[in-house]
């Protein structure tokens, strides 16, 4: 059914169609609308006998799912930002134990300074925690990825995060085609666990493993991630067959044929990037874009194949490895090792700053002229930085940075755009 619907409402509906049996959550902006809606659906008996457990914290929420999943239930949660960090220990436990929960991340910046707006700092912080990470470009894709995520998680017995940009997608109303229950049932069979806590067949899950076997157990978790590279492609094809639209997959190319420059990005900014690509193509610029749909496992081979013919890859990423620079660009450089492709890093959209076409045009012009600094910080106000650095130099007790920068930009709260 095609609806004009808020992203969060659409995702809640999609999760309900996947027939979860235990949902445990702790509300946090910008994920709140998803779990609110799911709690209503459960209360109204719209998700079978599903239990909704409002936990005392994110750590509690995922710990509850670990138990429920080990007892054979299909499990779901959602979080963002500090909430994801707070559940970190359980995040590693879920993947280390091989329990296939699905978790939506409403991607949001991490404090301090506290900020409720979108960037990818949260899911990036846990990129190596053994969860598969899929990024949605639109709310349609967010819906479709959830249907694929349960199947993927349960096929591999590996937990999956579906990442969708907070506010940009979670709070946006756009047209979404919601699948029917019959379609989802045909794609997603009932959960058949590979390990089960069963009183009639007792066993332990969660053994202590010493140096004699830890590396092997870890390697097998890594191996599961590598298997996911194939499984994601298989599911992409099967989804296209059964639902009649393309969604998911490792990567997606856009007008990369003969492209000298290719922009690389995760998530919703790919929409804006495609507008930019179209306008520049119309002006005769050989440019294309590459969307990375699966960030973990990182599709080294597919990225290498897509980018190897170009001269310049510009990675536009909504995160910052403090003390280093780009995170995704490092992965892309690894994928391109040995090839003469220039990889540039553009740190953009931190803490919800809009990534505009105008800024992208200017940045691309600079890159094509060989004048882009590395890493480049899109729309960073260097005047503010210089003034604050100078002020800090003046005396030891210079006070808190955030408050002084806010005073400089003459804002008591955040700018509206």
């Amino acid at each position: 059914m095609r609806l004009q619907i808020e992203g969060s409402q659409a995702v809640a509906a999609a999760v309900a169609l996947c027939r979860p049996e235990v949902i445990s959550c702790y509300p946090i902006t910008p994920q709140t609308h998803i779990v609110e809606r799911l709690s209503e659906l459960v209360r109204n008996g719209k998700i079978g006998s599903c239990r909704f457990i409002n936990a005392e914290s994110e750590f509690g929420a995922l710990s509850i799912l670990i138990g429920a999943s080990a007892a054979g239930a299909r499990t779901y949660t959602a979080t963002a930002s500090q909430g994801l960090l707070f559940m970190t220990e359980a995040v590693y436990n879920a993947s280390g134990l091989g329990l296939p929960s699905v978790m939506t991340i409403g991607n949001r910046a991490i404090g301090a300074p506290i900020n409720i707006w979108n960037d990818h700092s949260d899911s990036m912080a846990l990129r190596d925690a053994g969860w598969i990470q899929l990024h949605a470009e639109s709310n349609q894709e967010a819906v479709d990825l959830h249907v694929q995520a349960f199947r993927l998680a349960e096929t591999l017995s590996c937990p999956v995060m579906v990442c969708m940009d907070g506010f940009v997608l979670t709070h946006a109303y756009e047209p979404v085609d919601l699948p029917t229950q019959e379609q989802v049932d045909a794609f997603l069979p009932p959960y058949e666990p590979v390990q089960l806590l069963d009183p009639d067949d007792p066993m332990t899950i969660g053994a202590m493993v010493g140096p004699e076997a830890f590396a092997e157990v870890r390697y097998l978790t890594h191996h599961t991630q590598l298997r996911a590279l194939e499984e994601i492609v298989t599911l992409e094809a099967e989804f296209l067959r059964q639902f009649g639209r393309a969604s998911g997959g490792l990567i997606e190319r856009y007008r990369t044929e003969d492209a000298e420059t290719i922009l690389v990005a995760l998530g919703s900014v790919n929409g804006t990037i495609r507008e930019v690509v179209d306008e520049l193509r119309d002006a005769g610029v050989a440019i294309g874009s590459l969307k990375i749909g699966a960030y973990r496992p990182f599709p080294v081979g597919a990225v290498r194949e897509a980018l190897h013919p170009c001269r310049r890859a510009i990675v536009v990423e909504k995160d910052l490895a403090l003390g280093k620079g780009g995170i995704v660009s490092s992965d892309v450089k690894m994928a391109l090792r040995g090839l003469p492709v220039i990889v540039q890093t553009v740190i953009a959209g931190l803490g919800g700053r809009s990534i505009t076409k105008a800024s992208l045009f200017q940045m691309i012009n600079e890159a094509r002229a060989g004048k882009l600094d590395e890493p480049h910080f899109l729309d960073l106000d260097w005047d503010v930085i210089r003034k604050e650095l100078a002020r800090r130099q003046q005396r030891r007790r210079s006070g808190p940075t955030a408050e002084h920068v806010l005073r400089q930009v003459n804002s008591v709260a955040s700018k509206m755009v």
Binding site: Q4, F167, E174, S268, S354, A413, M416
Partner: protein, 187 residues
């Protein structure tokens, strides 16, 4: 406010167009200045940047007129719908009014109209009727349907009636308002 953008998007969707609505992601408290955006297109919408050059602007709270720079980027052929019982030329917007076609600016007391119809001073839904009348981008029928879907039952019916009343107010204000403006300029 956010609801208004949503309702425009749903109305456009019901009219068979593509639409995208999203809030300015501002502070989460009642009374804070808030913006919400809506795009309508014949094609699927991929762009995610905020609307920086609106073709139409709805000002729900006229006390913001001189607090925040609201009109940067408003297209010279753009539309302006103000929620106020004042005539536009009494609001200190002469520069702006000189810039826009006279038929593209309307002031309508949507809060009063909404209060009369719904018993609550919330002009969100009512103003969408005004937008339909001013721009023709969405039909009144779809606006009414979008409102009734969002607020089933009595509340929706009352708000749909408010939207219709504002629609009619904007249509009938056309000639009167233009006359007065011409008159004011002649003075």
């Amino acid at each position: 406010m956010v609801t208004a953008a949503e309702l425009v998007a749903v109305a456009a969707f019901l009219d068979g167009k593509y639409a995208q609505a999203f809030p300015s992601f501002g502070s989460e408290r009642m009374g804070a200045p808030v913006m919400a955006f809506c795009r309508i297109s014949e094609r699927a919408i991929r762009l995610r940047e905020p609307v920086m050059k609106p073709d139409a602007l709805i000002i729900q709270d006229p006390t913001l007129l001189h607090q925040v720079d609201l009109f940067t980027g408003l297209s010279p052929s753009g539309y302006l719908l103000l929620n106020t019982s004042q005539e536009p030329h009494r609001l200190g917007l002469d520069d702006l009014m000189a810039r826009l076609p006279a038929a593209h600016i309307r002031a309508v007391p949507a809060t009063e109209i909404a209060f009369k119809q719904t018993g609550r001073p919330i002009p969100n839904a009512a103003l969408i009727g005004g937008l339909a009348a001013l721009t023709g981008w969405v039909t009144l029928e779809s606006v009414r349907k979008a409102i009734s879907q969002k607020f089933p039952g009595r509340v929706g019916a009352a708000n749909a009636a408010a939207a219709q009343a504002v629609y009619e107010a904007v249509r009938s204000s056309r000639t009167a308002s233009e006359r007065e403006r011409t008159h004011a300029v002649a003075d």
